[in-house]
């Protein structure tokens, strides 16, 4: 069987279990990182979701990979005499510089593809076609760039399929016959077959500019059902993001037009709706909440994903990003994790950890 797909259980966890050196503790909700009098991490305390009792697991090194916001939450909740502002947070940057990808989208259909022959098109429909950032920012009114993801074709029908037929079946001759919009019966079934697989859409995923004031922080008044203080969020998109979304929309419109496609949704960008820019958090590429850097005063981690303030603590998820570039973030998370892992092994061998 080909393993062209990636999922962490399949590709990372099962092979790691097979080494016999990994033990997984399921249904454990980490509460905080425990540190000793010298400020070193000694383990993690957690509540079991099964029996609601408190446990602790000790370790020579503690690695957080709880995703960007949850890692910030763990750090901020791990207060001690040596780390009064939360762990790895003497710089006061933990939780700050929170960012998501910029996203907006547009779609429609390609009349050229009406009534076409059926075949298996799975895996072609959600294309991450490589569209690198191709423009020169000096000539643009916004910094950074974006890539474009495309989709369309004979997808598996899901809820929503076949709806809104009256919006399309009056506009195009179906198998050579002009019809009235709407309808029912055998004629409607013919229309559904005819238009199936002709849809096309595209979405931009762009780099947002990281700002210190965009942040998550511990909510002083609220805990979750385990009694762990939760986060609250304060993120505003800047003019850079809005201008980028405007540019995305213009690009999509041009591409759809040149393809000969008819736009049915998403071409509604106005200054009032920020050109369709999705709300922060909507693209689910959170990053930046424990940024890395050489300067311990302005960053939480060094270039090895290692806390400046606590050398046996590592954060290997999106929290370490200073920016997320114009690509989706997961490959970079994986690459940085691998690099940090190699560094940890190396440092352990050298007895530095």
């Amino acid at each position: 069987m080909a393993k062209a797909d990636f999922s962490s259980p399949n590709v990372l966890i099962y092979p790691a279990l097979k080494t016999g050196k990994l033990e997984v503790i399921a249904d454990a909700m980490a509460r905080e990182v425990i540190t000793d009098d010298n400020g070193k991490a000694t383990g993690v305390s957690y509540v079991s979701k099964e029996d609601m009792l408190e446990y602790q697991v000790d370790g020579r090194v503690v690695i957080l990979a709880a995703s960007a916001c949850e890692t910030a939450r763990l750090l901020l909740n791990s207060k001690s005499q040596r780390h009064p502002n939360g762990l790895a947070n003497s710089s006061n940057v933990v939780g700050k510089y929170l960012q998501d990808s910029n996203g907006t989208a547009m779609g429609g259909y390609l009349p050229e593809l009406f009534g076409r022959k059926r075949y298996n098109e799975d895996g072609v429909g959600g294309m991450h076609v490589y569209t690198p950032w191709w423009l020169d920012n000096k000539k643009l009114d916004f910094p950074r760039g974006y890539h474009i993801e495309y989709w369309g074709g004979f997808g598996q029908p899901a809820y929503g399929f076949g709806m809104g037929m009256q919006g399309i079946n009056g506009k195009y001759a179906v198998n050579g016959k002009k019809k009235e919009a709407g309808g029912y019966g055998a004629s409607l079934k013919e229309d559904q077959r005819y238009f199936y697989g002709a849809n096309v859409g595209m979405a931009g995923r762009g780099e947002a500019v990281a700002f210190e004031h965009n942040k998550c922080e511990i909510d002083p008044n609220t805990v979750d059902k385990y009694g762990i203080p939760v986060l609250r969020f304060d993120v505003t998109q800047s003019d850079h993001e809005i201008k980028q979304a405007k540019h995305m929309k213009e690009t999509f419109r041009e591409m759809m037009h040149n393809m000969g496609a008819v736009i049915t949704w998403g071409d509604d960008g106005t200054p009032e709706n920020k050109y369709g820019l999705d709300k922060p958090g909507y693209i689910i590429h959170e990053a930046g909440t424990a940024r890395m850097g050489d300067n311990a005063k302005t960053s939480a981690l060094n270039k090895w994903s290692q806390a400046h303030d606590c050398n046996n603590l590592f954060c290997v998820d999106g929290s370490q990003f200073t920016s997320q570039a114009d690509k989706n973030i997961t490959w970079t998370i994986l690459a940085l994790s691998m690099r940090a892992s190699e560094y940890i092994i190396d440092e352990m061998k050298k007895q530095n950890l």
Partner: protein
Amino acid sequence: MKRRESLKYIAASALASATLAAGCKPGEKKEEAAKEAFKPGVHRYEDELQELKALENMPKFFNEHEIATITILGDIIIPKDAVSGSASEAKVPDFIEFTVKDQPKFQVPMRGGLKWLDMFCLKKFNKSFKDCSEQQRIEVVDLIAYPERAKGKSELTQGVAFFSTIRDLTATGFYTSEMGVKDLGYAGNKPNQWNGVPDDVLKQYGMAYTPRELEVCLSFDA
């Protein structure tokens, strides 16, 4: 520290939730849970299962008369033809009953729309839609199935909106059923079985793969 050695293979994957779904306490019934988890089918998380169960346990939303009307309308919208069966054969009325519970925003438009239809038929034929003859039903449907035709006719616009809603629900219920998926000719959901775009299709659009693409991108282990 308490070690849960035996649970380690059920961690961090679908299996963990399958165990939860089966309601197992740690240490109990692990074997069965693991077997259960490998059954093919739809995977649901614990909260999804709870939601589904809650929906199933709700009392019926539509009464008998309403469901009978939905069934007749559904089969007018999607009748049996040479390619596939009808909406009712694909259990679309059950799907609509489920959907109005799952998405309560449909409840008033559906109940009210059905009532609108009955009132319209009562005025016109002195009978509810269900009790009308086939010919009378089609006469009414023709008035509300074509938004352009009915534009500006204030006695019909609400009926048009209702018909669009039930056409949407019927179509999406039908085309997401096994019967509807086959009707459309969806050919996917076959992992690792992709040989590229068929030759005749490529020719039709004046395209071709390069030898290198054929070699590198389009080969797979059988």
